[in-house]
């Protein structure tokens, strides 16, 4: 059986690796973006000089041949489900028995005038990085539009090259449709402290270019005209599915898939950023363009193709990021706006760069989510507490089990507990230590 995978990002590559583990099927991965799998999330580090591009490749180049995974560097123009084949840009075709669409995203463009000028780019593909590199030479000013994870990454990138950045953010506090207010404020402060010209509640109106077609100026919704040589469009991403518009594959915003990640066409699957679940789990979005879900989908599709039928289950939500010097981790349910039936316990370090938030249920008091800024928590421990709907007071007393900061770091679990005691009048005491033996014991307990 020949399994064809379009896209060599984390989803497609995970699928290929898992299929190889489970079977001897012939596997081919197609990508026009890069010869080999690289970590998209690390592109910023290449620009900033932390790493070389080759360091972003998680596997050595001979890995693919060793694992009998064929690589094709080409762009697919059309999928023809009836003939079970794909047609490339150059007109050649390739047949498949099973097809996995792992084609990822593209940067959103909301129809701004001038959005296709030279010097207007998102940051998603390797080619976007190359464009940023090209335009950075002698660049006097960059304007970034859109206050999400990629926007702040791009701001950090230009900042490392001493290029002044004006950062247009629609919201009145950074990423506050995802982060609760305090955390959002913390990141907003961090952006300002790094000397970024952050314009909150401001949107992009138009981009003006020179006669040559090169970007010259951005017009903001506050009427300000910002002269610039680069405009970064980072207002989110959407599935990269234009080439499927005229195929028989059902698409909406993304490629529609069922719980087994199958599309409406036989033997065609979609995973990762480009997949849109017809019926997502409760509290989850139909399209989740993040690394971890891509990886899980890759594994799930591999099992389904290799004869172990299984539903996609993303498990308990988790994510992480880094905003300049502040690391961020989230486990479970920490919405930006606190729902009616949620309680929240928020502790912030006096320095204003670390915080710990625990969400728990108002009535029965079980834990609902963890949000960490500048503090590391253990994934497995948090997940177990969440899965078992552990009472907040148990979690607080055992909170040290979750601490994952490096050795000798000051621990703040007692401060969190004291805050809770103070708020509720309880007299709880910490009863665990940050000891690996205790952690493993806890994780092993049924």
């Amino acid at each position: 059986m020949h399994i064809l995978i379009i896209g060599n990002g984390i989803s497609g590559v995970t699928a290929a690796r898992q299929i190889r583990k489970l079977s001897d099927h012939e596997i081919t991965i197609i990508s026009g973006e890069a010869d080999h799998f690289f970590s998209r999330t690390a592109l910023m580090y290449v620009f900033m000089g932390h790493m070389r591009f080759e360091d972003t490749k998680p596997y050595e180049d001979d890995f693919w041949a060793k694992n009998r995974i064929n690589l094709v560097n080409n762009y697919v123009d059309e999928v023809i489900p009836g003939q079970k084949q794909v047609r490339f840009q150059d007109g050649t075709t390739l047949e498949y028995d099973k097809l996995i669409l792992a084609v990822g995203s593209k940067s959103n463009k909301f129809g701004w005038p001038g959005q296709d000028l030279d010097g207007v780019h998102g940051l998603y593909h390797k080619q976007d990085l190359e464009a940023m590199e090209r335009h950075s030479e002698g660049l006097k000013k960059a304007v970034i539009v859109g206050g999400g994870l990629i926007g702040i990454e791009m701001a950090e990138m230009f900042h490392s090259r001493h290029i002044p950045v004006t950062f247009l953010v629609r919201e009145d506090s950074f990423w506050n449709m995802v982060l609760p207010p305090e955390e959002s404020q913390m990141v907003t402060r961090e952006i300002l402290e790094n000397g970024i010209d952050l314009r909150l509640s401001t949107e992009l109106k138009e981009i003006w270019g020179e006669r040559s077609g090169k970007v010259k100026m951005a017009l903001a919704s506050d009427g300000d005209k910002i002269e610039c040589g680069f405009v970064g469009l980072t207002a989110g991403v959407s599935p990269n599915i234009d080439f499927l518009r005229f195929s028989d594959i059902d698409i909406d915003r993304g490629i529609l898939v069922n719980q087994k990640l199958q599309t409406n066409q036989p033997d065609i699957y979609a995973i990762g950023d480009c997949a849109q679940l017809r019926s997502p789990q409760k509290d989850r979005r139909p399209i989740e363009a993040i690394w971890y879900t891509g990886r899980m989908m890759g594994e799930t599709v591999a099992y389904n193709i290799c004869g172990h039928e299984i539903n996609y289950d993303p498990g308990i939500w988790f994510n992480s990021a880094k905003f300049f010097d502040i690391e961020y981790q989230v486990y479970g349910d920490v919405p930006a706006m606190l729902p009616e039936n949620y309680n929240t316990l928020y502790w912030e370090h006096p320095g204003g760069k670390k915080s710990i938030r625990l969400n728990y249920h108002k009535e029965d008091g079980h834990i609902l989510g963890f949000n960490l800024m500048g503090v590391r928590f253990r994934h497995e421990v948090c997940e177990k507490w969440l899965a078992e709907k552990t009472p907040i007071e148990t979690v607080l007393q055992d909170l040290k089990l979750a601490n994952f900061d490096p050795e000798f770091y000051r621990q703040y679990e007692d401060d969190v507990l004291a805050l809770y005691n103070n708020m509720t009048g309880s007299t709880l005491h910490s009863r665990q230590k940050r000891k690996l033996a205790s952690v493993l014991n806890f994780l092993g307990r049924a």
């Binding site: 999330t41 690390a42 998680p58 899980m296 992480s320 010097d325 981790q329 050795e407 690996l436």
Partner: protein, 602 residues
């Protein structure tokens, strides 16, 4: 200033200028003297009336000429001494009538070794001119100004926000094998070549530190004092840099403080003070087999002649590697030594930190590493056994040649069998390398036994113990650990020696790999495969390969520097000690850690 470098403020630029000026002064000082033979010192060095009588006629020229540099002077010295050597030989054979079979013959002739060993002292005494007149000024301009310049460059970084600041490392010609890195590498290699093989050409540098040496131990400086002095300064100054860089990370601060402390006290000051008190000058933290000469005759003699203290030091040295290594490594991993105590590690973690990203991460490099480092360990063990075997008496003592060799053999076979079993338990049947290494070791010892016991030769392996140890000293001790180990920082990263050549690292690594509570824990499924951990691993471990599979990391080479954990942008890695490592280090775990999900199908 280029956009692809970090901004430097005026104070930092001044720092760079002062440091460069100091480095230039230091380098130029090497040529800032003429050479005119100091006859008295030569006479004292020869310390043999008979030989000196033959040398003296040649000194008329040598002693009255002022040579412009050490090369011309040493060439003239060699010519004169070799002429005298020929005259002596002639006299010994014709007038004294001795032949090579006479013991007296060998005591009378002037040997090449002696001509060579006198070079340094003669050259140092014969250096004349500005270097002597302006010694203190030059010393201040070199060391004082250099340190000041370095601090002016380092300390202003405190004004930036704290956090991981690796911007532009791969844009910098110093840190990515560019022209500046190559220059630094050549300079370092040159320094080590002079230090180990031609110290007579660096006497002017040694003269600069004479006053410091006199102050500390009452004697004049040798090239080794200069080396120890510079080594300590590098660790202290660059240690401050490391602390400034990682000031948000308490593990790094404490660990760096530890290597700074052990270098300054144990490696530098305590031995000097012991020398001042006329006691054996020993680095109490240096241990066999890194300290490969620990069991050499002259050192054993010195210790056994030094009374109670000497015996204590002998016991301490043996206890360190027989008891200290297994126990402490069991609880904390090899990091307790390699990145907290060791001098080589200390230099790598401070002076070498800017080069850590240059270590080779490829699988191929790992293969070469395993072969090389374990071969060096076998070499060190065989060499030491041979040396001890020839040192020990045949009989009449508690430890005789026979008893020693049998005990050593039993211990080695025991250790090999134990490693086999541990390996099998954790990884299945051992791979080829293990078989080959074991087969070679056994073969070596069978030969040794046949040779020593059946043919009652005092040599192990038909090899002259003296030969063996001089090969080791030259190849491993000088060329590898020094010239390559530090000289190649800007080419192959800061742990070339520790990774490919250190026999102690190999030994610590075996304990860490098979019997230790240390591991790097991977935080569930949080890894995004970005590769910062692997890039900044000085030991060339592909940390990401484990992290992205959710595996805990147990690698014999890991020195526990903690930088992978520090540079991780997602909080994925943590160094910890806990119950003995289990399947968390071998199974693929993290892709889907939800137990109700995919994993049930496994």
């Amino acid at each position: 200033m280029s956009a692809k470098s970090n901004r430097k403020n005026p104070i930092q630029i001044l720092g760079i200028i002062l440091f460069s000026a100091a480095l230039i002064t230091f380098t130029v000082a090497l040529g800032m003297s003429g050479f005119k033979l100091d006859k008295e010192v030569l006479k004292a060095q020869v310390n043999n009336e008979y030989q000196y009588n033959f040398i003296e006629p040649y000194l008329d020229n040598l002693g009255s000429t002022e040579y412009p540099n050490s090369f011309k002077f040493m060439a003239a010295y060699a010519e004169s001494l070799h002429s005298a050597q020929a005259d002596i030989l002639k006299d010994v054979e014709t007038n004294l009538g001795l032949t090579t079979s006479d013991g007296e013959y060998w005591n009378t002739i002037l040997k090449d070794d002696k001509i060579k060993s006198m070079k340094f002292a003669v050259a140092k005494a014969s250096s004349i001119g500005p270097i002597r007149e302006h010694r203190n000024t030059l010393a201040w301009l070199s060391f004082g100004l250099g340190i000041l310049g370095a601090f002016l460059y380092i300390l202003p970084k405190l004004r930036e926000s704290s956090g991981i600041k690796n911007n532009h490392i791969y844009h910098s010609p110093l840190h990515s094998k560019g022209w500046l890195g190559i220059t630094v590498g050549i300079y370092l290699v040159g320094f080590y070549v002079l230090l180990y093989f031609f110290p007579e050409h660096m006497v002017n540098w040694v003269l600069l530190v004479d006053p410091i040496s006199t102050f500390l131990n009452g004697g004049a400086a040798s090239q080794w004092f200069l080396y120890g002095f510079l080594y300590t300064i590098c660790i202290l100054v660059m240690g401050v840099r490391m602390i400034v860089k990682y000031r948000h990370n308490k593990y790094q601060i404490i660990r760096t403080g530890s290597v700074m402390f052990f270098q300054t006290s144990f490696a530098f000051l305590i031995p000097e003070i012991m020398a001042l008190l006329n006691k054996p000058a020993v680095d109490l933290k240096n241990m066999w087999p890194l300290d490969y000469s620990f069991f050499f005759d002259y050192r054993l003699d010195k210790l056994t002649e030094s009374g109670g203290l000497g015996l204590f030091l002998l016991f301490w040295g043996i206890a360190l590697f027989t008891i200290g290594v297994p126990f402490i490594t069991y609880f904390f991993g090899k990091r307790w030594y390699c990145s907290w105590v060791c001098g080589c590690g200390g230099l790598a973690e401070t002076l070498g930190d800017p080069y850590r990203q240059l270590s080779d991460k490829r699988m191929k490099a790992w293969k070469i590493e395993r072969w090389m480092i374990h071969s060096v360990l076998v070499f060190a063990v065989v060499m030491t056994i041979a040396v001890l075997y020839s040192y020990l008496p045949e009989s009449g003592s508690l430890i005789t040649k026979d008893r020693f060799i049998w005990t050593a053999l039993a211990l080695l076979i025991g250790a090999t069998v134990w490693i086999f079993q541990q390996y099998k338990k954790k990884n299945g049947m051992p791979k080829t390398a293990f078989y080959v290494a074991a087969a070679v070791s056994v073969a070596l010892f069978v030969i040794a036994l046949l040779n020593g016991i059946v043919f009652s030769s005092s040599n192990v392996l038909y090899l002259d113990a003296y030969q063996l140890r001089s090969w080791y000293g030259f190849g491993i001790g000088a060329a590898f650990s020094g010239v390559v180990g530090v000289g190649f920082y800007p080419f192959m990263g800061n742990r070339v020696w520790c990774r490919f050549g250190c026999p102690l690292a190999a030994y610590l690594g075996l304990v860490q790999r098979f019997k230790s509570r240390f591991r790097i824990t991977t935080n569930g499924g949080q890894c995004i495969s970005c590769g910062n951990c692997s890039t900044y691993c000085e030991m060339g471990i592909d940390v990401r390969a484990y992290a992205q599979r959710g595996q805990d990391i147990v690698r014999s080479s890991c020195v526990g520097c903690g930088v992978c954990s520090a540079v991780c942008p997602r909080g994925v890695l943590r160094l910890e000690n806990g119950p003995e490592v289990d399947e968390r280090a071998t199974e693929e775990r993290a892709i889907h850690i939800d137990l109700e999900g995919v994993r049930l199908l496994d």
